[in-house]
Amino acid sequence: MKKILIFAGVVAAAIMSIAASLSTSSENIDLDMDRTHGTISTAMGSSILGSPIAPITIIEFGDYQCHQCYNWFHNTKPAIFENYVDTGRVNFIFVDMAFLGRDSPKAAQASYCAEDQGKYWEYHDLLYLSQEPQIDNGWANPERLKAFAFNLGLDMELFENCLDSGKYSKRVQFNIDEAKKHGINGTPGFFIVGPDGQQKISGAQPYSVFKLVLDSMI
């Protein structure tokens, strides 16, 4: 009887340890795997920023190390948000196209580690506010990514485990594949998805272009 109990205990311990290891290597947030906008699967992208029932969606494919994405973030995005997103007419999704350097995929993964703790958009904004002009010069290396998380007051043990384990590497890769599938060949790249179709915009184009496209869809 004792032997049976010991054996059962060992088996139970083994099952628990396997379950624990699986729970750390799989994603535990609610992802709507069927979420699409137009022909694009945005299931693995960011959450929707703005009104979820807005008739138009802007999907940005971007890289945290891309200086044109930085330019768009600072020069064009604020006006779009002020006039379209904050007024409920348009919503916004960010999808990773992390291709520029070795730190790009890690930065994208870090944003989802922050999402685990409910701070995706704060982390996203912090990365674009902290971007330095040179690619792979260390500003987005794992240590700095952890420092950004610390500055946002995230649980560092959770964040470090998430980042170091590469928990979201497949999610980021899925997004990159989705971008390539839709002919995105540079960052930032956009799709404006409206009720009657979708329009691609390549590059950090000015507000006037987005205004023309959005107004034609409203």
Partner: protein, 159 residues
């Protein structure tokens, strides 16, 4: 110096060549550096913080359109080796690729084709875009000076 320039450009062929080089190079560099967009609408836009790169494109194109035709004139008129045009073409080429390999389609193609080596090269060309363009302009200025000097001697013009 002015007389040598007027000597070269007294031939309409070199004026056309110069204008073509300037227009094609300026337009090409403005498009690949994302100052001009063709889709969905033709539009031009200089982002805040990118003004230096914008000005360097015009300087680079202007110098290339001056130096390349002068070197072609040198080769054709004096039956020199085609290698003599090297400095001007090299300067123009270096200056052109500096801004091309960033977040845009050319950088994407280079990284997709050559993997990590392409990414490293692309990152280098992006990180040092402005110094490389300034370097290319210096090469073109040196080429311009040596071309003028050479034409003055080889054509036996004593100004």
């Amino acid at each position: 110096m002015a007389k040598i320039i007027s000597l070269v450009f007294s031939n309409h062929y070199y004026v056309v060549a110069s204008c073509s080089i300037f227009i094609l190079m300026t337009l090409g560099l403005l498009i690949i550096s994302e100052y001009v967009f063709l889709e969905p609408y033709v539009t031009g836009h200089v982002q805040q913080g990118t003004e230096i790169g914008f000005v360097l494109i015009f300087i680079l194109s202007g110098l290339s359109s001056l130096v390349i035709p002068m070197n072609i004139y040198r080769i054709k008129s004096l039956n020199l080796s085609k290698r003599k045009v090297g400095g001007s073409v090299f300067g123009s080429f270096v200056g052109s690729i500096a801004g091309a390999c960033s977040c845009g389609p050319i950088g994407f193609a280079v990284i997709s084709t050559f993997g990590s080596v392409g990414a490293t090269a692309s990152a280098f060309l992006t990180n040092f875009e402005i110094p490389i363009r300034i370097g290319a302009i210096i090469i073109l200025l040196i080429t311009y000076y040596t071309t003028i000097r050479s034409l003055r001697i080889e054509c036996k013009l004593n100004f």
